[in-house]
Symmetry: C2
Subunit: 251 residues, 2 copies
């Protein structure tokens, strides 16, 4: 329930604004759940509105349209990850290890990956509301890999002839493409293993095996469950994960 | 106009079926033009129907829904490429050269890439009408790279330790991811150069520079035109291109 006693200096934070912020958070939680389980196409504004006991028109008072709500969900996802994981600023090989562990963790939330894939593809249209968001997100992601490889080069750990900006663009590209192939056929590949193999191409010494969010990767077609079981508690092995996006400013 | 004199052995090919086939081709040409210029989101069934002087209901008699029409457009695109290019079955390094030239050619048809990116992401949902199409398409694409790298290994041209299925999955993945990054920012990278760099990681001897569909790649931010000028005639330098998908059966 909202506070009803206004205090001059913090009136907006405690009054109607605070109520609106709470409502937004409720909507985002509902939208996250709906899109993660039903996917982007089937997740409807109506279902989200019903979950928070609002009308669709009421929901659209907080988010102009479905695209804007999706964008807010992605932001919200980053926030959830930040509150869940310690965002340690590893450098060099440690940063690459973190990215691989994140790729593995993502395999426990396929609905969110699906959402991300769909929205990033749509957002390639210059007039899409999420266009600038994704453009900056990719700039930022590439820069994280550039920074990691630059540190590794300074340490003498990079193979001769590696073009760092090119290697960074390809690493982020392979990650995206692996997600699409994995979503289409979860027996076809292991995202963390393949991202690690991609990084290993640039390094004199191979990286360590991925830290796993769940015990044991999918290793054979027989063990894959495309329907997706609920992920087990992954607190112990993923506590050092950090998100690749938005933890540093785009340059 | 349809032939009206039925001939027993070819009645269906010349009669109503032939008319229906021509109508479908007209719709596909219109849909290709609309989706390629307006993109997936903005290209409407209504606009496509208007181009072929039909009602939207009439159009939906030929294609059940927008998704099915999009899928048919992708098939149609493959057909156009087959009739335009000589699909020579190069093996080994020649096959990789072909794929790189195709990646370059794709940069002249950004609307179609956008369409492909959007639809492949959506189709990751198991109940999407294009799900099986894309799953097989990726199997097929990976197999083409597997075949090429296997020939190169037999010739002694592959670096030690390259895992061919993994390298193939990552090559196709990097291609997809490069398309997204390129569509978001055409100054960020050159798709053909990066795909070639990806392949070169596996090879003892680097591949030749890409065959270009248009004279001169975009080399500096100042020369990029995100609005897209019409591609110049590209017949002479792309005549040896072949499409990577559907030219071999999936295994």
């Amino acid at each position: 329930m909202p506070r009803v006693t206004p205090t001059p200096r913090t009136a907006t934070a405690r009054g109607p604004y605070a109520k609106s912020a709470r409502t937004r958070t409720l909507i985002l939680d509902a939208a996250f759940a709906v899109f993660a389980s039903a996917g982007y196409r089937k997740g409807s504004l109506r279902e989200i509105a019903e979950r928070v006991d609002m009308s669709e028109a009421g929901l659209l008072h907080h988010f102009r349209n479905k695209a804007e709500l999706l964008l807010a969900v992605l932001d919200h996802r980053d926030e959830l990850a930040r509150s869940r994981f310690a965002f340690e600023q590893h450098a060099g090989r440690g940063a690459l290890d973190d990215l691989i562990a994140l790729a593995d963790y993502n395999s426990t939330i396929p609905g969110v990956i699906e959402l991300f894939c769909t929205l990033s593809a749509e957002a390639t249209s210059p007039d899409h509301p999420a266009h600038d968001f994704f453009r900056k997100r990719y700039e930022n992601s590439r820069q994280i890999v550039v920074d990691a490889l630059s540190v590794i080069r300074a340490e003498g750990g990079l193979r001769d002839g590696v073009d760092i900006p090119s290697a960074a663009a390809r690493s982020i590209a392979v990650w995206d493409g692996l997600q699409i192939q994995w979503l289409l056929d979860r027996t076809a590949l292991d995202m963390a293993d393949e991202l690690r193999a991609c990084f290993d191409e640039f390094l004199i010494e191979d990286l360590a095996p991925p830290r796993r969010a769940l015990p044991g990767p999918v290793e054979s077609p027989g063990t894959a469950d495309a329907g997706g079981t609920a992920p087990a508690d992954s607190g112990e092995s993923t506590s050092e994960l950090r998100m690749p996006e938005r933890t540093r400013s785009a340059r």
